[in-house]
């Protein structure tokens, strides 16, 4: 805290300095520094202005927000068709947002996936706050993930049962990413430890093979494996749900990448820590659990968040094996005949959802990095 207060006077001073110089001086320094800089400013300024005017005209002024419906409930999109190219047809999102967000989940029950989404967001926020970084957080995760399962499946507490075939949209994206991270993390820690276990060469080789093979192939190959090879692996008569198969593929995929992040943390730790623990006579698991991991994991929290952002985006690849995540639902919405051809609007809507999640997480990750590095910056 004392460091933060120490910085305030300097920051305040620079701000007053800028203010006293005024906007003209600022522009002269930052926009018109040389003839080259001036040319760039003029050119970019012109382009940006043109683009902004174009986007505002297309997205706001000439945009169409609602369309009339015929008697049998089919949208009449002739207004949108007429405005194509000059105005956005946001009516497609107004019409389809429930389908895109929650998929084919029974319409009357869609409050359940809505709560699930809120639970996920709440879980991320709670996990992000440093005051909650303690052992009880693990319990919170278990309880929330269980609650999410109950809400989605139903069948208890008077909730009607909804099978996985009817799930879709944003909950699927969040489930794949979050459950993937939650289950792959312990696996990743074990693999990272195994890869550094020089006294267990056989285990080390297994871990190296797992990590390098998964990291060497694209996620699609792993997902294809889950969708076409996994059924062959199971004994006859055992059918594993498609979503669960994709989830397992995700866990295996994420495990390899997280293992490398964790290994980075293990390597960054000075060897003196392990030697001191050995000198105190701690066993391997005591040493690992009480001395090594708490410090190593703390070091790699920012890259862990960045890896998680990557997984969040990568969940969209399940489109290729036919699972109804957010992106797939966007494509499904576009396959409705009246709305065909309004893909730009739908893709922009989807991009907004992904950007909202990823931007928040990456902003958080950078802030965290700064905070955690504060002890090292002098």
């Amino acid at each position: 805290m004392s460091e933060a207060t120490l910085h305030i006077p300097t920051a305040a001073r620079t701000q007053t300095a800028i203010a006293s110089l005024g906007p003209v001086a600022w522009a002269r320094a930052n926009l018109l520094g040389s003839w080259w800089s001036t040319a760039v400013t003029l050119l970019l300024g012109y382009i940006i202005l043109r683009v902004i005017v174009g986007v505002v005209e297309w997205g706001l002024i000439h945009a169409i927000w609602t369309v009339p419906y015929s008697a049998n409930g089919i949208a009449d999109t002739s207004v949108c068709q007429a405005a194509k190219g000059t105005g956005a047809c946001w009516a497609v999102l107004v019409d389809k947002y429930r389908l895109i967000l929650f998929g084919r989940y029974p319409y009357a029950e869609q409050w359940r996936p809505a709560i699930v989404v809120l639970l996920f967001v709440g879980l991320y926020i709670v996990s992000g706050l440093r005051r909650f970084w303690r052992k009880e957080l693990l319990l919170v995760w278990i309880v929330v993930l269980a609650a999410i399962g109950v809400l989605m499946w139903g069948g208890v507490f008077g909730l009607s049962e909804v099978t996985e075939d009817n799930w879709g949209g944003l909950p699927i994206t969040l489930i794949l990413a979050t459950f993937g991270a939650a289950f792959s993390f312990p696996l990743a820690v074990l693999v990272a430890l195994g890869r550094r276990a020089t006294k267990l060469p056989a285990v080390k080789i297994l871990c190296v093979l797992y990590v390098e093979i998964i990291r060497g192939v694209p996620l699609i190959a792993v997902l294809f494996m889950a969708s076409v090879m996994f059924p062959l692996f199971m004994p006859a008569g055992v059918n594993v749900d498609k979503l669960l198969r994709a989830q397992i593929a995700f866990i295996l995929f994420a495990g390899a990448y997280l293992a490398e992040v964790v290994r980075g943390g293990l390597q960054a730790l000075p060897p003196g820590q392990a030697e001191a623990a050995d000198a105190l006579g701690l066993s391997y698991w005591q040493k690992t659990g009480f001395i090594i991991l708490p410090q190593a994991l703390r070091l790699v929290i920012p890259p862990l968040v960045n890896t998680f952002i990557g997984f969040f985006k990568d969940t969209s690849l399940v489109l290729i094996i036919g699972i109804f995540d957010l992106l797939t639902m966007g494509k499904v919405a576009l396959s409705d005949p009246p709305w065909q051809g309004f893909s730009t609007e739908v893709y922009l809507g989807l991009a907004a959802v992904y950007i909202a999640f990823c931007f928040a997480m990456s902003k958080y990750s950078r802030g965290l990095e700064r905070d955690l590095n504060r002890s090292r910056a002098r």
Binding site: V203, M229, A236
Partner: protein
Amino acid sequence: MADTTADPRLAAPRAAPRRRMRLSWADPVFRAVVWQVLIVGVVVAIAWYLIRNTNENLAARHIATGFGFLGRVAGIPIGESLIPYNPASDTYGTALLIGVLNTLDIAIIGIILATILGTLIGIGRLSKNWLLAKLTGFYVETLRDIPLLLQLLFWYTVLQGMPGPKQAWHLGDAAFLSNRGLKLPRLEWQTAHTWALVAFVAGLIVTWFCTRRAHERQDATGVRPAVWPVAVGVLVVLPLIVWAALGAPFTLELPALRGFNFQGGLTLAPEYFALLLGLVTYTASYIAEIVRSGIQAVPLGQWEASRALGLSSGAILRRIVLPQALRVIVPPMTSQYLNLTKNSSLAVAIGYQDVVSIANTTLNQTGQAIEGIAYIMAVFLIISLSISLFMNWYNARIALVER
């Protein structure tokens, strides 16, 4: 201080005496052996269980394993191919080879373009011009937060939504952008060009020898002879002379509208163009950050010190800053190149026929799921390994040599 030799730290290290392994849990060597046997045993048991199930399932479905299907006629229509291909007579083996070539094609072109664009944007973020710095920052932040697959689908629909060939967007008579893709003029290749290329390669070798000579002279005398006149001579003038001596042929084949489509010229199909556009713009946003942090990692004192030594700004960049920045840049750049190559497999979603797409069609047609997946994995493992090896070699070359 005669007794310093008695200091145990100065005594020559002696190997610990070898002990025999005791069959006791207290013996770490024994514990290690037990753990390894246990873990490997479990893994082998699981693998054996899965393989047995697979064999039973394959037998029940009457699928013969093996790569015999590679010799059968494929019948897969392939839009783009670097080698001649006829779906009616060529085999699955040829089709899969075309897939690999297409993947390599998009990966190599993509890596080159993404590196150029990413470097420009990364330098733009460091610009003193506020507008340029903010705009490139906005580019990086936005593109990184949208899934690549969504971007690819977006570009693909944008390209499909382009006007038809007759109303194509065009740049004079040379380039046309329509829903049939991008058409560019193509140079008609003649023997004179081949010879000019040979002269250029010879020039490269000569330049390399001259640079080595210059290095030796500099080490010996401290004065570096100028290499650039020789380089310009053998790299630019010599190929030009060869080309002119052979009649200086230069004919461009322009794309021309005939009927409903374009004839001639170089074609980038919408699938290829969308994939390239998506991969390059997405990967460039990551490369930009790598380049930016690499340049920022060079301390300001290095610039100041080299200016104090009186080096020209070009020499500062080439001799002082870039060698240090590259050390920071190359390792993460390697993983971005690997990512781009792996991400090119998303081609399957927009219908560009890369190795994943063709292998997927093959396994759907033949039912050879295991062989298909194994082929995809083998191809990508080999490509990944090659890129890693090359970049590790390059990294070792530019690494700091500490004395």
